[in-house]
C-alpha cells in the first residue's frame, strides 16, 4: 500500500467533483432538498384540521358559588393550532359535516355532562359515567390519531383543572430526547440516506466512466494496485460524506432546531464509515453495468430496500417481524440507529460500538469484493 498513489486517486476524485457542478449540486443541494421536503412533509405536525363540535353541556353551580362546565372546559383546552373548532347546532349537524368531508371528526358533548360527571363521581345510584363522543373520519389514520390525541389531552386538562383527576401520567422527564422533535428523529435518517445514495450513485457512474473511457486500463498499466484504487476512492468519498454531513447538520440545526446531545465527532466518524462501505459497494455494482444508463438502473434496487428496511422514517420495530432480519442486512440501518443513539441519546462509543463494528465489517467485506472485481476484470 503506497500512500502517495492512494492519495493521488483520492485527490483526482475530489478534483473531478470540484470541477463538475452537477456532482457538487447532487452532493449538496439534493440532500438539502430531501431534508426540507421530508422535514416539512413528515414533520408529524398535523395542523388546522376542522373539528365539528356540538357542545350541549350546561354549567353547574357548585356549593362555593362557582359555575363550571366540563364540556366548555374541554372545548377550551383543545389545541387550536392543530384542530380548528367549528361549533355546530346539533349532534346530527356535526356528523353531517364529517359526512360531507367538511370536518375530519365530530365531537359531541352531551347535555348535563358536568352534572352527570359529578353524580357518577359521587356514586349516585344508577349513575353511569357519561361519555364524550368522538365520531372520526378514519380514512386518514394519521389525522384521526392526531385528533384522538388532542381531544384526549383536552379532556385530561379539563379534568385536572378541577383537581378531580384520580391518576395522572407524568411523562415530562424523558430518559432520552427530552426536547426531541420529529426532526431529531428524521435528520439522522436523511443524513444516512443522502450519504448512502449519493455516494453509491457517484461511484457507480464514476466507475462505469473509468471503465468506458479507458482510464481504468491506464491505471491498470501503472504501479497502482487494485487495493490502492478502492481505498483512494473510499477516502475521497468519506471526505465528501463529511462535507455533506456538516452541511446537512448545519441546516438541521438552523432550520429545524435539532439538538445534538452526543459527540458530533463520533457521528461524523460513523458517516465516514458508511461512505466507505457505500463507495466500495458502488464499485462492486459498477462491474455489472456496461453503460452509465445501466448503472442508473441499479439505483431503485438500492433505494427501495434501504428506504423501507433501514428505519429512516419509521422505526425498525414498525417493520413486520418477518422482514426485520433483512433490516440488519442493509448497512444504512446501522448508521441510522447509531446516529440516533449518538445524536439523540448522547451515547458514546461504549454503547454504539456495535454500529461501528457492523459498518466496519460491511466496509471491509465490500472493499475486498470490489478489489476482487477489479482484479477479475483483468482476466
Amino acid at each position: 500500500m503506497n500512500r502517495r498513489r492512494t492519495i493521488a486517486i483520492t485527490r483526482r476524485v475530489l478534483r473531478g467533483v470540484k470541477h463538475d457542478r452537477r456532482s457538487m449540486g447532487l452532493m449538496v443541494v439534493a440532500p438539502m432538498m430531501a431534508m426540507f421536503v421530508f422535514g416539512i412533509a413528515f414533520s408529524g405536525d398535523v395542523t388546522d384540521v376542522p373539528l365539528a363540535v356540538f357542545q350541549a353541556d350546561e354549567p353547574v353551580t357548585l356549593p362555593n358559588n362557582t359555575t363550571v362546565s366540563l364540556g366548555a372546559s374541554i372545548v377550551g383546552h383543545i389545541d387550536t393550532h392543530v384542530l380548528r373548532v367549528v361549533p355546530v347546532a346539533s349532534a346530527a349537524d356535526a356528523v353531517a359535516m364529517v359526512e360531507r368531508g367538511e370536518a375530519r371528526a365530530a365531537l359531541i358533548i352531551p347535555q348535563n355532562f358536568t352534572s352527570d360527571v359529578f353524580a357518577s363521581l359521587a356514586g349516585a345510584p344508577g349513575a353511569e359515567a357519561p361519555a364524550v363522543e368522538l365520531r372520526l373520519d378514519r380514512s386518514n389514520v394519521n389525522v384521526a390519531a392526531t385528533i384522538g390525541r388532542v381531544v384526549a389531552e383536552a379532556m385530561r386538562a379539563a379534568v385536572e383543572e378541577f383537581g378531580r383527576a384520580p391518576v395522572t401520567l407524568d411523562d415530562s422527564q424523558a430518559v432520552y430526547g427530552k426536547d426531541a422533535k420529529f426532526a431529531d428523529f428524521f435528520i439522522p435518517g436523511v443524513m444516512t440516506f443522502a450519504v448512502f445514495l449519493i455516494t453509491n450513485l457517484l461511484t457507480i457512474t464514476g466507475f462505469v466512466q473509468e471503465r468506458l473511457s479507458g482510464t481504468l486500463d491506464r491505471l491498470g498499466a501503472s504501479p497502482l494496485t487494485a487495493g490502492e484504487i478502492v481505498l483512494g476512492y473510499g477516502l475521497a468519498y468519506s471526505v465528501m460524506a463529511l462535507v455533506q454531513a456538516a452541511i446537512l447538520l448545519a441546516v438541521a440545526i438552523l432550520a429545524f432546531q435539532i439538538t445534538i446531545v452526543g459527540s458530533i465527532a463520533l457521528a461524523f466518524a460513523l458517516i465516514a464509515l458508511l461512505a466507505i462501505a457505500s463507495q466500495a459497494l458502488g464499485i462492486l455494482l459498477s462491474a455489472a453495468a456496461r453503460t452509465e444508463a445501466q448503472a442508473v438502473q441499479f439505483i431503485p434496487f438500492l433505494v427501495f430496500p434501504v428506504f423501507l428496511l433501514s428505519g429512516i422514517f419509521w422505526p425498525v420495530e414498525a417493520i413486520p417481524p418477518e422482514l426485520r432480519p433483512f433490516s440488519w442486512a442493509v448497512p444504512p440501518t446501522y448508521a441510522v440507529e447509531g446516529l440516533r443513539d449518538i445524536m439523540v441519546r448522547g451515547w458514546g462509543l461504549e454503547h454504539v460500538w456495535w454500529a461501528f463494528a457492523a459498518l466496519g465489517g460491511f466496509a471491509a467485506l465490500f472493499i475486498l469484493l470490489a478489489r476482487f472485481s477489479l482484479l477479475r476484470s483483468r482476466e
Binding site: 502517495r4 498513489r5 492519495i7 493521488a8 486517486i9 485527490r11 483526482r12 478534483r15 473531478g16 467533483v17 470541477h19 463538475d20 468506458l212 473511457s213 479507458g214 482510464t215 486500463d217 491506464r218 491505471l219 491498470g220 498499466a221 501503472s222 504501479p223 497502482l224 483483468r378 482476466e379
Partner: protein
Amino acid sequence: MDGPGARGAAAPAALLEDVHKSFGAVKALAGLTLHVDPGEVYGFLGPNGAGKTTAIRALLGLTRPDSGRAQVFGVDSPPRAAISRVGFVPQEPALYRDLTVTENLELFADVFAVPRSRFEERSSDVLKFVNLAENADSLVRELSGGMVRRASLAAAMVHDPDLLVLDEPTVGVDPELRAAFWDEFEVLKGRGKSILITTHYVEEAHRCDRIGFVRRGAIVAEGTPGELLQRAGASTLEEAFLAFVRRRAEGGAP
C-alpha cells in the same frame, strides 16, 4: 533486468512469445510472437479485430494470456516490476474529463512516482512536446478531440518512460497532427526510447523501423517496410499485406 529472450546485452523492451488468448469461442490471439528492441519503433499493423489491442493488453498485464509468454524489459506479465518504465496510451483518450490537463498529468506523475520537485519541469516539457503548453489549465472536457489525443500522449510521457505503448494513437487525428505525432516519435526514438504502436494507417507504417502484419491473432509477416515490400513484390504496404495474407491462406511460407 535481463531475462529469457534477451537479445545481446539488453532484454527486449517488449516481448510476446506464442501468446494465445480466447474470449469464449472467439480466438483473439493465436500464437502471436513479436519483440521490440530498445530504441526501436515497431509498427503493429492489421485490420480491426486482428488482435492488436488484446496483444497490448496481454503485454501490459491488463488481460491474462491463456498460454505463452509476455514480458516487458524481461519481466513476466503482469510486469509490475517494470511497469513504471512503460507509458501507455489506450485507444480511447483515457483522461479524466473533469480535471485540467495539468491535474491529469499530476495524477500520473504521482502514480508513477515522479519526484515532486521534478513535476513542474516534466509537465512543462511534455506539454511543450505535444504543443499544449497554453492549455495546461484547461479542463480536458473543453479541449478539441485532437487536443485530447495529444494530452493523452503527454500523460503517458510524464514519467519519461523507456517504452511507449500506443494503441491507435492517431485514429481520428487529422493528417497534419498525425505527421506532428510522428515527428515527436522520431525525437523520442533518438533519445533511445522504444515505441510499440498499433495502427491501420498504412502510410504511418513507413515511418516504423519494423512492422508486424497481424491477422486473426498472429503475425503473418514481419520486417522493415523495405524488406516487406521486396518480399511481397509489392509497391505499397497495403498490397504487401494482402499478398502475405493470400500466401498464408495458400499454406505457403511468409
